[in-house]
Symmetry: C2
Subunit: 298 residues, 2 copies
């Protein structure tokens, strides 16, 4: 394990602990059953890239680590809600996620809709609770930034474009794929890093810099996912592979070819790392994430 | 039209205008199509009881009317999201809502899931945007109260109990129905009135008083819905009637009988109105809502 992977793993453990503390307790009644579905969706999986970005960006601006853990949990709740709803039969109809059955398979569709709904609510609750930051201005700013990143002008807007692309006649070109991913995954990943900066009361230009860094990182990460989708192994990925090709879905790999996609990812990772130059060695962990995004095996 | 009905109608018009301003614009692309579904779900229907409560409670505590309109729009967005998701085939499978086809019927299930998701996001965005109140502490407090009222400890928790009741062996008794409705509809209705008080920087005891008033009002309103479900006419209600009986669903009418349900609703409306006594004639419009709740014809 590299030093970076160790740091990623530690941020994931902190994020996981904050999620465990924030999620409602499992029980035998209806609400306890919904809590089990929410925990199934939110806990025990994924690299926690968003949690890592929130935690490391907060550290860069000397924010309180306990607040950073709650922000990391919030963005992972929002991400988990989007995965639960994306996996529904009426959307991507996926049975496997992070190596586990999806919520509508393990429970049922109604539970998946409601668990996703409640995870979104919890994401906002975590941000505006006074435990996250003593200054309400910081809390309100965090929630406003999350809403803008995850609503129609962000993540949900990207999801809609993704669905529209499936029914369109011609496959998307590289620019259209980039625009789609900028919304669908980039906005929330950008928020994760920006949220750490907000929590550390960073200046507006630092907030924008961190958000831009993370969007480029996220785009590089996504292209690496596309490459692993055609090259990787399903066991390591914990999800069905080759599904983009099977669905005839345009990706950077289908549009630019394997080498073209690799080059694009490398350029994005370089730009991401360069954006952190003003912070010098203090931003080493974040910069290492950019390199990791394009070299990881799963 | 009574003076109260006129006041209710004016609050509804203000809520509608604030929703129209807040919702994204309709367009030919994917996001514009989602915006159309969100507008279909949120605009042009309903009594706007929640908007009325927010607006009148804000007026009682001398809050800025423009902020009150945004809070009213927020709570109606949250309510609309819950209706869109409740109407889905995997939930109540309803084809008609407010006299119009439901979102999954007029569009499709994926659009209904995403429109509901985006309406929830917009509800929080409206509250934490500086346009709602200049003091971030007020904005963060509003969002925290909405999250608590609408998540697993509130509305979604009630929805889960409702689904669990359908598959349980024995029908619910009156206490269990009251507990279910307290969460499923009472929590958000209580929030609507409390939000007006928060916006007017009311004292904690006034916030609690307004929330309690509105929960009782909402419970009375709900029983009246049950009575209209067995007695009313579908055209005036704008939705399918007799569906609770057809579904074998326990209501106060099936449990206590028509007269028993009427008496319970009247007692709740009385208690709601009494709670407002400390405010004298300044709370007349809110008190009139309690009387209206149990006498309305649709």
């Amino acid at each position: 394990m590299t030093a970076f992977e160790d740091r990623l793993r530690r941020a994931a453990a902190r994020t996981e602990a904050a999620l465990d503390a924030a999620l409602p307790p499992v029980g035998e009644d209806g609400v306890g059953r919904l809590a089990a579905a929410m925990r199934h969706a939110a806990l025990g999986g994924g690299k926690r890239l968003r949690g890592f970005l929130a935690i490391e960006a907060a550290a860069l601006f000397d924010a309180d680590p306990a607040g950073a853990d709650r922000v990391a949990a919030s963005v992972e709740c929002l991400h988990a809600y989007s995965l639960v709803h994306d996996d529904l039969p009426c959307m991507d109809d996926d049975a496997l996620r992070r190596g586990k059955p999806t919520v509508h398979v393990a429970w049922d569709e109604a539970t998946a809709v409601l668990a996703g709904d409640a995870l979104q609510t919890l994401a906002f609750e975590l941000l505006v609770d006074p435990a996250t930051h003593p200054d309400a201005a910081v809390r309100a700013e965090l929630a406003l930034a999350l809403a803008r990143a995850s609503g129609v002008a962000g993540m949900v807007g990207g999801q809609v474009l993704d669905i529209a692309a499936e029914t369109a006649g011609a496959p998307l070109d590289a620019d259209a794929i980039a625009a789609l991913q900028h919304l669908k995954t980039g906005a929330l990943i950008g928020f994760a890093a920006e949220a750490g900066a907000i929590l550390g009361r960073a200046a507006p230009e630092d907030r924008a810099r961190l958000a831009g860094f993370a969007r480029d990182l996220g785009a590089a990460f996504q292209i690496r996912d596309d490459l692993l989708d055609v090259e990787g192994d399903a066991e390591a990925a914990g999800k069905r592979l080759g599904k983009d090709a099977a669905a005839g879905k345009a990706t950077f790999v289908s549009t630019l070819g394997v080498e073209g996609a690799r080059a694009r990812a490398a350029a994005l990772a370089d730009r991401a790392a360069s954006a952190l130059a003003p912070y010098g060695s203090r931003a080493d962990a974040l910069a290492a994430a950019a390199a990791y995004a394009v070299t990881r095996r799963a």
